[in-house]
Homo-oligomer: 360 residues x 2
C-alpha cells in the first residue's frame, strides 16, 4: 500500500549548528520532507543578512535536494531597514518571535507583554508578505495577589492568546503563525480568527508530530518527551488531532523537531526542552492519521496547506522530487549518531507502520 | 536565634533496603527527626510479621535513637487474622494503600476503584486504632467518550477524593491519612471532613517539605523535582502552605522523602519518582514557615499534631532527645553518599537558613 504525498513541507525545524547540524540536516530528506522552514535560534541568533546567507549555504551543502526557507530572530538587533533589504533580496521568509526565557536559546527574545516597539518591523513584514512566527507562551509568573494571574507551563499558551488577537487586529494583513499549538484554547482561537475567512488565511497554526501523541503524563518522568510548550491534557491532544485532520487550511504541519545531545536530555537538573522527530516525521504523523481514519487528509496537512500559506511557488523548489508513504514496519532506533554525538529520536525502540519513500 | 521543637515526627519516610537503607537511615537523625513512620514498599513489599520485625531491627541498628513506626503494604497477601495479630503484638502502626501502578514499587498495590474486598481488614484496623495511609491517586486513564473521565497526573489526586469520602463514611472511626497532599482540592476535602470534628480528628493529611515549594514548572525539565503525586499549580502550593501553617491538627508533616540513586534520576526515559529531603527536612520546612511569618506554628506541624494523631506515648520513644532549629546558613550539597551510591538531595547547591540541632 502506498500513499502519495507530493511535495511535502515541515514549516518549523531546528537544524542547529556545527556537528549537530551535520548530523541532523540530512535527516530532513530521510524523513520524506521537501521543504523546511528553518528556525533562527542559533548561538548567536540569526539577525543579519550575512548569517542567513552563510547558514543557508551550509545547510544546502549538507542536503542539496532540500528547499530551505530561512528566518530572522526577532530582537532589538533587527531594524525595519534590514528586514526591508532581506525581503527585497528574498533571503528570508519570515521572522521568529521568542518570548524571552521560555525555551532553548530564547534568552535574547522579546517581552511578549509589549510588542509595540516592533511595530515598524511588522509594517515592513506585512508589506512584503513575510510571516511572523510566534512561540506563543507567556513566561511563568507566580502572583502574590491573584491566582488568576498565575502563569505556569500549563496555561502559558492560553495566556498568550490575547496577544495573538491584538497583533491580528493591529496588522490584519500580516501573516502570522502560532507555532506548535498544544492546547484546545489555541486551536479554538485560530479557528475563531478564521471563522469568516475566505481564500488564503492570514493567521494559521502549526501542529507538531509529537504533540499529536503526547500528554502531560508522557513527559512526567520521561525527559525525552519534555519540550516547550509542554504537552498538555488529553482533551488538548484530542483538539490537536481534530484540527490536524479537519481539512482546514490554517492548520498545517511544523514538526518543531529539536535535537539535543543525549547527555543534555539525561540530567536530573536542567534538561533541554525539545523532542527530536526529523528522520521519521511523516511516519509519526501518518500513524495518528491512520488511527483517526483520516489518511485522506494527510497530504494537505503535511504539504498543500503549508506550502500555500507560505506562498511557495514551483520555481523556488530546489528539487521537484515527490514523496510517498509505504505501508511497512519501521523500527525507531534508541539513538542516532556516533559516539561523540548521539540524539534520541521520539518513540525510541518502537515500531511504526509507514515509511517515507522518494518517488522516481 | 533558636527555635525549640521538642519531639519531632516525620510520618511518611522511605528508608529503602540494603546499601541505600544504610546510607539513608542515619539521615533521619541528621535532619532533626525523632519519630518516623516507615513505608513498606520494599521489594518484596512488607506483608508479614517476620518482615516487619527484621526490617525494624535493621533500621534500629542503623539509628539507635530514632523511633521507628512500622507499616504493612495493603494487598491480597494480608488477612484480617494477620493484621489482628500484628496489632495485638504492637508491631505495626498502620497499613499503606498504594493504588497499583501510580508510583515507585506500587505494582503490587490495589485497585482504587474498589476497596470493598479489604473491608474485613479495615474493620480490624478500626478496632485496633491502626492507621490507613492512602496514596490518594487514581491511575491515569484516557477516555474515548467523555473528557470529564480523563485521568492524568494533574487531576489524579482530585479524582481520588470521592474514594476518601466513601471510606470515611463506611468506617467513620477508622483513622485515615491522605498522604502527601498536593492539591487545593485535597486540602479542602480534608478540611470539609473535619468541619465538625471536636477532639482528635479521624481523617488527616500529611504535607511534604518539597510540595511546599514546588509547582509544575519546577519539575518540567528537572527530574530531581519529579515525584508522585507531581507538584501542581501555584494555587495548589498556596493551599498547602495555608494548611501547613493553619494550626489545624489534621494537617501535619510527612516528608515522603524518597531517595533514588542519581543514575535513576538522570535518564531520558523512566526517571524514578521521588524527592529526597531526609537530611534537611526541618530546614526546608522552616524556610517556608519563616517566609510566611509562621514559625510559631512549626512545632505543631512537625511534631505535636502528628504524634497526637498517631497516638504516640512517651514510653514508646526510644529516645527522649529534643531538637531545636538554629538560625545559621546551611549549605545543601550536590550529592550525598559515596561513589558507588550517590543521591541528590532536594535543592542541591542552595543555602538554607535553619539547621536542626539536638538539644543537651
Amino acid at each position: 500500500m502506498k500513499l502519495s504525498l507530493g511535495i511535502t513541507a515541515d514549516l518549523h525545524v531546528h537544524l542547529r549548528q556545527n556537528k549537530m547540524m551535520e548530523l541532523i540536516t540530512p535527516t530532513v530528506r530521510q524523513g520524506g520532507v521537501s521543504v523546511v522552514y528553518v528556525m533562527p535560534n542559533l548561538t548567536p541568533p540569526i539577525t543579519s543578512i550575512a548569517q542567513v546567507v552563510e547558514y543557508k549555504a551550509q545547510l544546502q551543502k549538507l542536503s542539496p535536494k532540500t528547499t530551505f526557507l530561512m528566518s530572522f530572530y526577532l530582537n532589538q538587533d533587527l531594524t525595519p531597514q534590514l528586514v526591508e533589504q532581506a525581503a527585497q533580496e528574498k533571503l528570508i521568509r519570515g521572522i521568529k518571535c521568542y518570548p524571552a526565557g521560555v525555551t532553548t536559546n530564547s534568552k535574547l527574545g522579546v517581552d511578549p507583554n509589549d510588542f509595540s516597539k516592533f511595530y515598524p518591523i511588522f509594517t515592513v513584514m506585512e508589506k512584503h508578505n513575510l510571516i511572523l512566527n510566534l512561540h506563543g507562551e507567556k513566561p511563568s509568573v507566580q502572583s502574590e495577589q491573584n491566582e488568576e494571574d498565575d502563569i505556569h507551563v500549563l496555561n502559558a499558551e492560553s495566556k498568550f492568546i490575547p496577544a495573538l488577537f491584538k497583533l491580528h487586529k493591529d496588522f490584519p494583513n500580516l501573516k502570522i503563525v502560532l507555532e506548535h499549538c498544544t492546547t484546545k484554547d489555541a486551536i479554538e482561537a485560530v479557528q475563531k480568527i478564521n471563522e469568516n475567512t475566505t481564500g488564503t488565511p492570514t493567521v494559521a497554526a502549526t501542529i507538531t508530530a509529537h504533540h499529536l501523541s503526547l500528554t502531560i503524563d508522557s513527559w512526567a518522568g520521561n525527559p525525552i518527551n519534555f519540550c516547550k510548550p509542554v504537552a498538555k491534557l488529553p482533551r488538548d491532544k484530542k483538539a490537536l488531532i481534530d484540527a490536524a485532520t479537519s481539512g482546514k487550511p490554517y492548520f498545517f504541519f511544523g514538526s518543531d523537531s529539536a535535537p539535543h545531545p543525549i547527555h543534555d536530555k539525561s540530567k536530573h537538573i536542567g534538561v533541554c526542552a525539545g523532542v527530536f522527530t526529523q528522520p521519521y516525521v511523516l511516519s509519526y504523523v501518518a500513524e495518528v492519521f491512520e488511527q483517526r481514519n483520516a489518511l485522506d487528509k494527510l497530504k494537505d496537512f503535511v504539504g498543500t496547506f503549508g506550502l500555500s500559506f507560505y506562498g511557495i511557488t514551483d520555481d523556488e523548489l530546489v528539487s521537484k522530487d515527490t514523496v510517498s508513504l509505504a505501508k511497512k514496519d519501521l523500527f525507531i532506533p534508541e539513538l542516532i549518531g556516533e559516539k561523540d554525538l548521539q540524539v534520541a529520536p521520539f518513540k525510541p525502540g518502537e515500531t511504526l507502520h509507514w515509511e517515507a519513500i522518494w518517488d522516481n
